[in-house]
Amino acid sequence: MNLLEVDNLVVETKTTTIINNVCLEVFENEIVALVGESGSGKSMIARSIMGLLPSEQLCISSGSIEFQENELLTLPEQSMRKIRGRSIAYIPQSPLNALNPMMSIERQLIESFDPQFHEISPKERALFLLKRVGFLDPERIMKSMPYQLSGGMRQRVLIAISLMNAPKLLIADEPTTALDVTLQAEILDLLQDLKQEYGLGILFITHDLGLVARYAERGYILFSGKIVEEGPINDLFYDPKETYTKLLLSSLIHHPTMTGSIL
């Protein structure tokens, strides 16, 4: 089912257009990659969907964002708050400063919990999710403060927080850029498992084409606020149509033994 549909989205400041006629869709049980270099507008799209654009400087001048066939752009803030963090969850880019340094992990997990969706207590739900994201001793983690956890552990806590209310759509904005390769693979494998388990739709924002090849099913290539190419992953990688996509692919740095020719 079509979970999210962004149609002809235009985001402008007083002088410039930042997002230009962007259309994208996310289905259930699917990882969709949004690829682009820094400054291309990836995070702006994510924040538009979440309704978190700073309204003083930026405005959405036209277009629509539909989530489960409900228009989000015209929704009053009160109803938007019911969707944000519940049906649509967000994993921010840097785990190192996304957690409140003065609050225990337990409080941060439980803070976002909405009891009307669940039969179990917030604490049970938190322990369950901490276990699910790979912690062997969830009780200890619950009592910890953010500074006592490593970057990878904090990112896993953030994923657990985002899953507290069993969302339908997960927006992961470069969830692993701050992490090392081994951790990166661990976290993204976890997201992939969760996708299958809960039928999540994941909008995966990244600039790493390797990760796109490994995890995504479809992709959108964004360049200076415009989607220049979209399609199934295999088409994007093996039969790119646009110059910018070709440029991206040709600028990959590889060691010969890591590419297909040797294997």
Partner: protein
Amino acid sequence: MTDSPLFELDRVSVDFKTSKTTVHAVHQVCLKGYKGKTLGVVGESGSGKSTLAKALLQLERISSGEIFFQNSSISSANKQSIRKLRRHMQLIFQDPDSTLNPRQTAGWHLNEVFSVHFPKLSKKERQETTESILETVHLDPTLLNRYHFELSGGQKQRLIIARALILSPSLMVLDEPLSSLDATLRKSILLLLKELQIKTQMGYLFITHDLSTLGAIADTVAVMYRGSVLECAPTNELYSSPTHPYTQSLLSCIPVADPHLEKKRKPLFLPATRPPLPTGTGCLFAHRCPLAKGLCYTQEPTFSGTTHTVACHYAQEAAALTGGCRGCNT
């Protein structure tokens, strides 16, 4: 490689003492780098890569071991002779923004080097040298009047490389020089670095956490973990037959931008199963190693092998872990 090494680290350790404990940032590292060659150092954050680079440049005091540069020991040299040596070794940092003065123009940064190291050069000579260096790094001379916020990321990194080149160093230490750049720019800077190396025969110490970049530029790769070098081998050999379990895990976790290939690969995860051993009591990787047994917990592994060295008690068994096939379980 019959020539003598450009630089050599011999059992170098760097310890930091805090009020409670001693942190072993670099532990018993032996490495050699040659003229016109690139030695790559890879490791996760906190593995001691940057401390190692600083130790080599004498910016960090070493606790034990010895460092040789152009065949003479520099770890016990006095301040004055170190200053003279610095001319031959240049350092390029990760973040171009923080190494440029925001209140000065691009040209000022180059001029500063002339005033410190070649104060006798005439204005005309300075200009000529500047122009030829800008040409080698493919930077437009009209940019010299701009401030750093008026330059793009790639232009800034080229300016910093130009600044380092004025002294025609014989050793260039590159600490994550590409991390802050966009994917499309990385390759062009990498090609520039390669081109410069061929032209000037500089030796590079290239530090990064990105194994795919390293594969494209390094001649030899050393893998660091918790301050120690676990494996060191010529690049081709390391990538085609990684031996240490940690190296195998690292290589298997790097995604390759090829969807068909990715379907066949499976990352090899080695999570910690017990608390890590303190430095000096056993193998530093034992708490994550699937093969760890008795000896690993009681004795530090020594390096075995000549060109492809591995710090592992059970190197042969380890090599069979993924069949030396970079984690592809086909």
